[in-house]
């Protein structure tokens, strides 16, 4: 229940730049007596590695949860499309790696863990930044490099942080040992928390990931290693990069689960299973989420030189995670078409407001330039571009 409240508050952070969990529970859901309050759905059986039992093959979804998941995923989708638009208008610059198509992964994971658990990922991080509690306003303002951004404009697309969310990392592979380290801290402090460390199919071959596997298994760290397999590492398909594309088996001595990453319920059930496994002190577990990104690797990649437009279109029409959830709810009378439309309209407004803020908020002040070099340090002097420019730095 606490989960749900937090999730709803996340979504309704309309004009609130702070990260506090607000108590703005807006009841937009008209509870008609004839809506089904909850239903059970079959989810795809997960392929298992070194496990006798796996995640549940049925998922119970309540109407509230369904609407929530829909709202959050649709917000993520619209936010990424807005970022696309702003990038093409050159209001966002530098790197911009979009997450649309993969929403079920972020949503499913967040639905299956607690807000007090930890998460770290690589550069395709806008979705996770949102599910981990940062408002759309603060995300878009960070992308446009303004002072209202979650990192005050200093981090950019790949470097957004929140409580129990460690970014956003630019050099792929590095985030996995970092995640294992967070898990070590959880074990050390005995707080029964787990860490979810995400990486892609491209990074899955990095040596440091295998080093993390070894230590996590050796020391039974409560770390869930998740490979988001979207079939391409930049322009290189999995067949061309990996001698073994069974990413869920790559942990070798670590048990693994292969999950349908386009089905938010499948992801949720799997992560619940994995989190329980880790919390029981059994050690780490590896998950592979099979998913797909609609955009290219980044905004500078059209995404069609290494795959066909037909393939993208096929995934969009047959396996879109948001459409799948919507259809499930509609066909089980858990929501009405009008209700969904209303949610879409509300989300559109949230995104528009956030984009407006992101465009009109001023850039960070120049005296911010040298701050945050060291923590807990007395103010110090920083050399500017020449010896006569002495800038000030405070912690």
């Amino acid at each position: 229940m606490q989960n749900m409240l937090t999730l709803i508050s996340n979504v309704f952070r309309l004009g609130n730049a702070s990260k506090n969990v607000g108590a703005r529970m807006v009841a937009s859901t008209r509870s008609f007596a004839d809506f089904t309050p909850q239903a059970s759905f079959d989810v795809k059986k997960c392929e298992l590695h070194r496990l006798d039992e796996g995640p549940s093959e049925t998922a119970v979804l309540t109407r509230e949860q369904g609407l929530q998941y829909y709202r959050i995923m649709q917000t993520m989708r619209r936010m990424e499309l807005k970022a696309d638009q702003l990038y093409k208008q050159k209001i966002i610059r530098g790197f911009c790696h979009l997450y649309d198509g993969q929403e079920a992964c972020a949503m499913g994971i967040e639905a299956g863990i607690n807000p007090t658990d930890h998460l770290i990922t690589a550069y395709r991080a806008h979705g996770y930044t949102f599910t981990r509690g940062v408002s759309v306003r603060e995300i878009l303002a960070e992308l446009t490099g303004r002072r209202g951004g979650v990192a005050k404009g200093k981090g950019g697309s790949m470097h957004m942080y929140a409580k129990h969310f460690y970014g956003g990392n630019g050099i792929v592979g590095a985030q996995v040992p970092l995640g294992a380290g967070v898990a070590l801290a959880c074990q050390y402090q005995g707080n029964n928390q787990v860490c979810v460390a995400l990486y892609g199919d491209g990074a899955a071959n990095q040596g440091q990931i295998f080093e993390s596997f070894n230590m996590a298994a050796l020391w039974k760290l409560p770390c869930i290693f998740i490979c988001e397999n979207n079939k391409f590492g930049m322009g290189t398909s999995v067949e061309r990069s990996s001698a073994s594309t069974d990413y869920f088996k790559r942990g070798d001595y670590i048990p693994g689960i292969k999950v349908d990453g386009m089905d938010v319920l499948c992801v949720r059930e799997a992560i619940k299973f994995a989190a329980d496994y880790c919390r029981a002190g059994k050690g780490p577990i590896v998950m592979e989420l099979e998913t797909y990104r609609y955009h290219g690797h980044s905004m500078s990649d059209p995404g069609v030189s290494y795959r066909s437009r037909e393939e993208i279109q096929e995934v969009r029409s047959k396996s879109d995670p948001i459409t799948m959830l919507k259809e499930r709810m509609l066909s089980n009378n858990m929501a009405s078409v009008e209700e969904i439309k209303e949610i879409d309209v509300e989300i559109r407004k949230v995104i528009e407001d956030a984009a407006q803020f992101a465009i009109s908020d001023p850039e960070p002040p120049l005296d911010e330039l040298c701050n945050h070099i060291f923590a807990n340090n007395p103010p110090m002097e920083v050399r500017g571009t020449n010896p006569w420019v002495k800038l000030k730095s405070v912690s």
Partner: protein, 423 residues
């Protein structure tokens, strides 16, 4: 006391069998501050009219904007020849053509890195090469720098001549052990038994809006290590000549390109376009002659120095009360081995030194140059302390206004020059 002539020999090099030599400029006797002829080949003795100067300035501005080399007037060929046809080539294409020609010339040369083959290169530097040479010579690697850098060095041990691309030099930190311990030190450790003919290349330094983890300059880090040659080209001629030289060199070469320079076009002469055109590694180039102050730089900042020189020259002309200041601009081209002689020669003429780089100040390229000048004969010719213009000593911020203030701008160079010259 300043010398009447340059004590060290002027730089000379060969291009397709033709020997070129830079003509040393006579030093100016007497006050530096006085009316001088402006222009790249400042001989410093005659006085020309204001209108002549203005038209020269206009053409110089055009010259500099199109990025043409400003030293052509200083060169005197060993035999007379009509001016060769120039072709416009941007830095990306210069690198591409250099690699293409070297791949063709020597079967043992091959390229490996992320997205270099079927994607045509993350920045399109290797465009068309995979189509032409195929899987054996142009290899797409997984995202595993430590692994493929090690594989590349191993291939070099066994007789091949790899070009190992890092998508950016920031990613080389994952592989730095292989670059330093396996490549740089091996010839020494084996007492000459095992050479390592490898080139590591990729874009270095800041770009536009790519934030802290993607904007670091590695010139100082790699320039610190004996056994490595470290090269940092500025324009297309540098890129072409130095890459060919690096590939032909039997030593490990760290080749630091610049992403923002890839699309910039420069005119290249027929000589430069010759398939055997190489530039010597370890030799700096005087891009612009000057008599008041020496600016030493590498990579993209060379362009800023030339722009600053043009601005100051123009200012001097248009503000009649202001003295005309001419800046000598030295393009290092190579970080290690450092061409101290060329820098010293210029400093001994001008008496003032400013180094300009994009990297951080502490323990940087500029710091090394200042130290070497202090330790050498040029120190006695300095009329003011040598000063460094560098990036700000902070991780690179993302927001545009902050990023713009984190790297040296032309105005910073001009400000520093005026401070040093007490203007």
């Amino acid at each position: 006391m300043r010398p009447m002539r340059v004590p060290f020999g002027p730089p000379e090099w060969r291009i397709g069998g033709v020997r070129f030599r830079a003509v040393a400029q006579p030093a100016v006797i007497g006050s530096r501050i006085g009316r001088r002829t402006i222009g790249p080949a400042s001989s410093g003795t005659s006085r020309s009219s204001l209108t002549e100067d203005r038209s020269k300035m206009a053409s110089i501005r055009c010259f500099l904007r199109s990025g043409k080399s400003a030293v052509s007037v200083v060169l005197r060929r060993e035999f007379s020849k009509t001016s060769p046809a120039a072709v416009q080539v941007n830095v990306r294409d210069a690198l591409n053509q250099a690699m293409d020609e070297e791949l063709e010339r020597d079967e043992k040369v091959f390229l490996l890195g992320e997205e270099v083959a079927q994607y045509d290169g993350a920045y399109k530097v290797s465009r068309g090469l995979w189509k032409k040479y195929g899987d054996k010579r142009i290899i797409d690697t997984p995202i595993t720098e430590m692994g493929f850098a090690g594989i590349a060095v191993g291939a070099a041990f066994a007789g091949l001549r790899p070009i190992c691309e890092f998508m950016t030099w920031n990613f080389s930190m994952q592989a730095i052990d292989q670059v330093i311990n396996s490549a740089a030190k091996t010839y020494y450790m084996s007492a000459g038994a095992q050479p390592v003919p490898i080139v590591f290349r990729g874009p270095n330094g800041s770009s536009a809006g790519v934030a802290a983890q993607h904007s670091q300059c590695f010139a100082a880090w790699y320039g610190h290590c004996p056994g490595l040659k470290v090269v940092s080209p500025w324009n297309s001629e540098d890129a072409r000549g130095l890459l060919k030289a690096a590939i032909r060199d039997n030593n490990p070469v760290v080749f630091l390109e610049n992403e923002l320079m890839y699309g910039v076009p420069f005119d290249l002469s027929e000589e430069v376009m010759h398939k055997d055109f190489v530039l010597p590694i370890g030799k700096a180039k005087v891009e612009r002659q000057g008599t008041h102050i020496t600016l030493v730089s590498h990579s993209r900042c060379v362009g800023f120095c030339l722009d600053a020189a043009a601005v100051l020259a123009k200012e001097g002309v248009e503000c009649e009360h202001m003295d005309v200041v001419t800046l000598a601009v030295v393009n290092l081209r190579t970080i290690r081995p450092l061409d101290v002689e060329t820098i010293e020669a210029s400093v001994m003429k001008t008496g003032h030194l400013v180094t300009v780089e994009g990297g951080w100040p502490q323990y940087g390229v500029g710091a090394e140059i200042c130290a070497r000048i202090m330790e050498g004969p040029a120190f006695n010719y300095l009329d003011a302390p040598a000063v460094r213009v560098t990036g700000v000593d902070i991780p690179m911020p993302y927001a545009k206004i902050l990023e713009d203030h984190s790297v040296p701008q032309i105005k910073d160079i001009i400000f520093t020059v005026k401070k040093v010259l007490n203007m």
